[in-house]
């Protein structure tokens, strides 16, 4: 199944943000003559390769009123070209024992195959072909729009916590397009057309706007040769423009979103703060927020867990995240699931107390050291998966960071001092930058 993954800062997708970006690996990074960037990450343990093409375009690059277009186009990229008619792309991958899929976020759209390493050239030929030669027909496009609407029903409308998450993000961004969901509002998705998709394709899919990531059983010279042959032969149909989205006005008011739904059985509380990202942060702010999230809400040694779960028995679960993988803005956030019967206002007050303490007094050297140990170890664990490594670089390069930034993460985390975390906390944990989201059960009167 073409399980398109929507990357959003949802409560349950926090694992995605756990950074593991410090790497002792031999990465090669270069550009083809047409401007397409290439990253090669060798991992020779198994005869398998992960081949990804990332485009610097996501839902935040759509025009107002066409939400969901970037993601819809991602689905349509599987509909064939002149050279490879509908269904053939998938058949070729199947016959060669490969897996393929794609995903869309606010800032990027990516296509990937995992396949035996001796088939690398084959997937390059296919992927290069659909960068410029997509053919769409009503016969393909109309059922696919229904598929996307089913996807929205399945992921969002059937799930109250996803619906609340959309509302929280809509409240967070007053002007910036991060306020609309990647999958799009149903009313707008329903109106998307083949012409919309083709126009978006022509405006954003070109080698100079793309990044090739190859991880696995390859060497850089081999990738250089094959990429030059297949991607290097493509001519740019336009010059990519700088990605300038409407900036947010300075946040001045704490916002609050509450939703009641009969499908909800227990209350959940979350609080998000508008934050800088890895590419917009000053100094070590982003790294400081990574570690701060760990200290505040990472696991059973964290401040929230100790206070709300262990000491006060008010919450069953707590957590925190820092989503710093955005081109323009990120979020720092916390959440809690109150125990059955707990006073929700009291749970929220306790969260506020924990955060206020961090802002007022910062963190201890011991807390910093423990959290750092965990995050640095995660970066070693990340070495075990070629596809996660590939994703890490793809996400960084499409959101304003560089290969050097990724490779330098470990060094930056090592350099952090408690004062860095305190300064980041003072800046970001400010109620004016916040949206509080509360999901409550609604007593059913009928079924």
């Amino acid at each position: 199944m073409l399980a398109t993954r929507i990357v959003v800062a949802a409560l349950l997708l926090l694992a995605f943000f756990l950074p593991a970006r410090a790497l002792d690996i031999d990465v090669t990074n270069f550009k083809l003559e047409n401007g397409m960037e290439v990253v090669v990450i060798p991992d020779r343990r198994a005869p398998v390769v992960t081949h990804m093409v990332w485009y610097r375009v996501g839902s935040a690059d759509e025009v107002s009123g066409k939400s969901g277009l970037a993601h819809f186009l991602e689905h349509l990229l599987f509909k064939g070209t002149k050279k490879h008619p509908p269904g053939e792309f998938n058949r070729i991958i199947d016959v060669n024992g490969g897996e393929d899929n794609a995903f869309t976020s606010r800032d990027y759209t990516a296509y990937f195959q995992r396949i035996a390493s001796d088939r690398l050239e084959l997937v390059m030929e296919l992927e290069a072909d659909r960068m410029q030669n997509l053919v769409l027909t009503d016969e393909n496009v109309i059922p696919e729009l229904d598929v996307v609407r089913e996807e929205r029903r399945e992921r969002t409308e059937n799930d109250p916590s996803s619906l609340l998450q959309e509302q929280v993000e809509a409240a967070m961004y007053t002007a910036h397009p991060y306020g609309r969901p990647v999958i799009g509002w149903m009313s707008e998705v329903a109106q998307l057309t083949k012409e919309d998709a083709l126009a978006f394709y022509r405006a954003h899919y070109t080698p100079a706007n793309a990044i090739l990531i190859v991880a696995g059983d390859v060497d850089a010279d081999q990738v250089k040769r094959l990429a030059g042959k297949h991607y290097g032969a493509l001519k740019n149909s336009f010059e990519p423009m700088p990605r300038k989205r409407t900036p947010e006005p300075a946040p001045i008011a704490a916002r609050r979103v509450e939703m009641k739904d009969p499908r909800v059985s227990s209350v959940s509380i979350q609080r998000s703060y508008l934050a800088p990202t890895s590419s917009t942060a000053e100094g070590l702010e982003a790294e400081a927020l990574d570690v701060l999230a760990q200290i505040v809400g990472g696991g059973s040694q964290s401040r929230l867990y100790k206070r709300l779960v262990v000491e006060n028995s008010l919450a069953a679960y707590t957590g925190a995240w820092y989503g710093g993988d955005g081109l323009d803005y990120g979020t720092f956030g916390v959440y809690a699931a109150p125990v059955p019967g707990a006073d929700v206002a009291k749970v929220e007050a306790e969260i506020d107390t924990v955060l206020a303490e961090v802002v007022a007094k910062g963190v201890t050297q011991d807390e910093l050291d423990r959290a750092r140990t965990k995050l640095l170890a995660d970066s070693v664990y990340a070495l075990d998966s070629q596809s996660s490594l590939a994703r890490m670089f793809g996400a960084a390069l499409t959101t304003g960071s560089t290969v050097a930034d990724v490779l330098g993460w470990e060094r930056d985390v090592e350099a952090l001092k408690p004062e860095d975390l305190a300064a980041a906390a003072r800046k970001v944990i400010d109620s004016r930058r916040s949206v509080t989201g509360i999901l409550r059960p609604e007593t059913q009167t009928s079924n």
């Binding site: 005869p47 059985s265 075990d384 998966s385 070629q386």
Partner: protein, 443 residues
């Protein structure tokens, strides 16, 4: 491809798998203390991944104590031996050890991942957790709250409701019908002694299965395994779960929920992993509704008609029963139409089987993609554990693609015919579906 190497304290069977230019050597080691494990040694990155399982899982929960085995998974880091909960957790975090546990119907599984430099301390922590968990009252209550909240959430999750109801229909009074996590009522009634009883019942050497991959040699590992698992009792009292029979369809249950998309689970009896026809049946179900865009169900239900984001079907081989289960989500007003299409596709597959071309494509996909399951230490450890649990033999990794290649069109047709009965499906639906009835090709 077979060579036997004798060591002083270990009996090692060395097998080289046939993965192109690369060789993955799976060894079976037997420790001085008599514990068996499958091992792949690879020193490329400084990590060790271990997966292990105890035979018997949540299906062994006594009546009224549903969720007890699953509850243990939440208590494994809440204190053991001389370490109270917070001390245990601090130690684990300081060592950056990843420990996780899972309770299925048939097995209690655990995994440990450690940086090589913290190896000995990591295994020692696991030893304590396995052999001397404290199950202290305060921690117990905390974890109980967590499971109560997730049980309440699960009780509202359309996919969970649909599959749970499907299992109830399929298994009736058999323990498999209860699922593995218990429910709010049973979890609320559990006490620490219930966990102690299940711990005693499950955590024994008989039925222990271990696989280890990464930066460690066999001699060092053998000693560590003896230390870690050696103190567990040899075996427990009590017999295995009884064999289950799967109810006959047609059956249709509807659970009304105010959601825009109906979630439908459908299926029937399947076959177990040790069935001689398992591989042809597996290939047949891949063609019918396996992963990838090319399956018949995806083509007819999603690609041609836009009725769903995802539809699939597959074999679910449990220890004491085999299942065939499929699912999809579709907008309420199309539920009847979607099930009608599914029934037609199943019927045609049962009557005609796949084409030679479909079979050929399935074979090249299944054999070619096998290597993708072995591209990280963690994934290899998982594969090694699964093959051991299924008793497929240490040479399975080299034999497996040959077994797929050898499947004939007649075998796949026979398997499809044997498994698929579109008019006798067990179906459970959550939502506000329109146009559904329990039998007939019209939906």
């Amino acid at each position: 491809m077979h060579q036997i190497i004798r060591c002083t304290t270990f009996f090692i069977a060395l097998l080289l798998t046939a993965f192109a230019a690369h060789a993955m050597a799976v060894k079976e080691i037997k420790t001085p203390g008599g514990i068996t494990a499958w091992v792949v040694e690879d020193h490329t990155i400084p990590l060790i991944a271990m997966e292990f399982s105890f035979a018997g899982g949540a299906a062994l929960d006594p009546p009224g104590k549903e969720g007890a085995t699953h509850f243990i998974t939440g208590m494994m880091d809440e204190g053991a031996a001389d370490l109270d909960g917070p001390t245990f957790q601090a130690k684990r975090d300081e060592l950056a050890v990843k420990l996780s546990f899972d309770a299925g119907l048939d097995n209690f599984e655990g995994s440990l991942q450690t940086l090589s430099r913290n190896r000995d301390a990591a295994f020692e922590l696991l030893r304590k957790a396995l052999t001397a968990p404290r199950f202290e009252e305060l921690a117990f209550r905390r974890v109980q709250n967590q499971f109560l909240v997730s049980a309440a959430n699960n009780a509202q999750d359309p996919e969970k409701i649909a599959s749970r109801r499907w299992m109830e229909q399929a298994f009736g009074q058999h323990p498999y019908a209860r699922g593995s996590e218990g429910n709010e009522a049973t979890i609320a009634k559990l006490v620490p002694d219930d966990l102690r009883a299940m711990h005693k019942r499950l955590f024994v050497k008989q039925g222990l299965t271990i696989s280890v991959v990464g930066d460690i040699d066999s001699a060092t590992l053998g000693a560590l395994l003896d230390k870690t698992f050696g103190a567990l009792p040899e075996k427990a009292e009590g017999g295995p779960v009884s064999e289950a029979s799967v109810a006959m369809g047609p059956q249709l249950t509807h659970i009304a929920r105010d959601i825009p998309q109906s979630i439908i689970v459908f299926g029937s009896a399947g076959i177990k992993r040790n069935d001689p026809e398992f591989i042809p049946a597996f290939v047949a179900m891949h063609i019918l509704g396996g992963g990838g865009l090319g399956s018949r169900l995806t083509e007819e239900v999603r690609e041609k008609r836009g009725l769903t984001y995802g539809v699939g079907i597959g074999l679910v081989p449990l220890d004491h029963a085999g299942l065939l289960m499929g699912s999809l989500g579709t907008r309420n007003e199309k539920a009847g139409e979607a099930m009608g299409v599914i029934r037609e596709v199943l019927t045609r597959m049962a009557q005609e089987g796949p084409t030679q071309e479909e079979l050929d494509t399935a074979k090249t996909f299944l054999t070619g993609s096998y290597a993708l399951r072995f591209d990280s230490n963690a994934k290899i450890a998982g594969q090694l554990l699964g093959v051991q649990q299924d008793n497929l033999g240490i040479d399975y990794f080299t034999r497996r693609n040959g077994l797929i290649e050898a499947v004939t069109l007649d075998q796949v047709k026979a398997a499809a015919k044997r498994l698929l009965a579109a008019d006798a499906l067990i179906v459970s639906v959550v939502g506000k579906p329109e146009g559904l009835k329990s039998t007939g090709t019209g939906g």
